[in-house]
Assembly symmetry: C2
Homo-oligomer: 298 residues x 2
């Protein structure tokens, strides 16, 4: 039984960081998002991969209880290649091969249609809208990135107006709303429709805005950050996973969900691809959640 | 009776931000630091100004109970000119005129010598050391900046080894300790001697490191940021002011001091020069301190 539908990319990434280089590793926004959510609930992916996509990657997802029934096979897999330099804060995209994504038309499996939670992960806003229109979720969250802000701004704003939670990183928020000030950007975002706006700030944590309230979530101070890829997606996945598990949409619970998002993202970046999430348990997540309380109390 | 000795600059600044341009306004690390500290304790400044320095600037400090007995008058006042662009995160220095600072040799007034707290604000580390050697403080804090990291690195490291608290912004910490990782930078810093290390992160708040502990202090989400000049100095001043007031050097109290630092800095940047601090009261500070609790609880 699928709780959370996620549309996004399932990709093969080539990533270079100061700590190494890995080629053709499992990546993509729906991959990271669903894996992170699977610690809390049952996600189902809507995506496309090519016939070059390794079966054991799909197996890895299935073993975590993630439904891959909505993953279509067609052409070649989407590939992203990127590099992180010294400060690890921003990926430099070296190459993007859309491949099967270029002609993807998402179809939602029947068993996804009663899911109450929908995550429109980072992908073409036209595809996000197509999925939104085929589902009946009560709680919809959207993530995006600079590429879509630049190339499909109007469509993106249209989809944003239909969701409950808008998730962007702080740089993207400044770009989309044309202001350096995140408080102002959040107000503009909420004027479009979303009840909650979350700006991810990498190592600095995240800000959650809602009607008249701000929550300042900490980042977890990591000594061994190896690969930031998927940090935002795993944040989002754990966030919506926790909400799907608790079914509590109150602001105090949304705050907790943000902290679970930060926690799972902090584990994810400690190794390449999904390697560290594969070693992760709910017990370790709870332990770091408690540390988050400790490191910010005064 | 002076509680806190502060050596640093008392300056005339010319500042341009997206919100306006102001010339020859009161600035300098000791100015911002002492004014912020004066809400909690009695600071005394050690600095030099020129005979071109307006008397009403000195009057403003005196009226807040700040001792200016350690301010020497000689030659022309130190002048700094800077500009902040769209994102307001970093000042671009347009011009620096050391003037009287170039030949300044600090002399400590007798009534400063029993002060238990010393703030070596941002100035030439040779001057910081000269002041340190003439005082008998139990609790010494040091701030610095990229200019001294580049031009006087060895002397700066020597002074750091003699202080209790090292304060830097995150970019400077990465530069001084040659690592992008702030946890690693903090360990290196503590190995030099300081018991506490604070990395200021502008709008993202601050990190406090001590033996085995990390405290993640929030930034206050401001909608009207006008001029970031003096944010770090007012943070530092309020921090050491609160500690001088409470005389409690325990880690939990140091955490509170960091939050008071963030609070006063957040008021400071809402207007140019000391304009907003002039309108500030302890009551408003306490109110925003309580908001800081609220905006980070989960």
């Amino acid at each position: 039984m699928v709780d959370i539908v996620m549309v996004g990319t399932v990709a093969l990434d080539s990533v270079k960081t100061p700590f190494g280089q890995k080629d053709d590793i499992l990546g993509g926004s729906a991959t990271y998002g669903s894996y992170a959510a699977s610690f809390f609930a049952q996600p189902g992916i809507v995506a496309v991969v090519g016939d070059d996509f390794p079966q054991d990657n799909l197996q890895l997802l299935k073993e975590k209880g993630i439904s891959t029934d909505g993953i279509e096979v067609s052409g070649k897999t989407f590939r992203w290649s990127g590099e992180y330099e010294f400060d690890m804060n921003e990926a430099k995209t070296l190459d993007t091969q859309l491949n099967a994504l270029a002609t993807f038309s998402p179809k939602i499996p029947e068993e996804y249609k009663e899911a109450k939670f929908l995550f429109l992960a980072n992908i073409d806003p036209n595809l996000q809208l197509a999925v939104l229109e085929q589902t009946n979720a009560d709680f919809v969250m959207l993530d995006s990135m600079n590429f879509w802000i630049e190339s499909a701004r109007d469509k993106l704003l249209e989809v944003i107006s239909k969701v409950d939670v808008l998730l962007l990183n702080d740089g993207e928020a400044r770009q989309l709303f044309n202001t350096a000030n995140l408080v102002k950007a959040a107000k503009q975002a909420m004027d479009l429709g979303p009840k909650y706006v979350i700006f991810k700030k990498g190592e600095h944590g995240a800000l959650l805005f809602s009607d008249g309230k701000v929550f300042n979530a900490p980042g977890y101070p990591l000594e061994d950050l190896k690969d930031p890829t998927g940090a935002g997606d795993s944040f989002a996945g754990a966030f919506i996973g926790y909400i799907a598990k608790t079914k509590d949409l109150s602001e105090p619970n949304i705050r907790k969900a943000v902290v679970y998002g930060s926690v799972v993202a902090s584990f994810n970046v400690e190794d390449f691809s999904l390697e560290n999430m594969k070693r992760l348990s709910l017990e370790k997540i709870e332990q770091r959640f408690n540390e988050m309380q400790e490191l910010r109390s005064f």
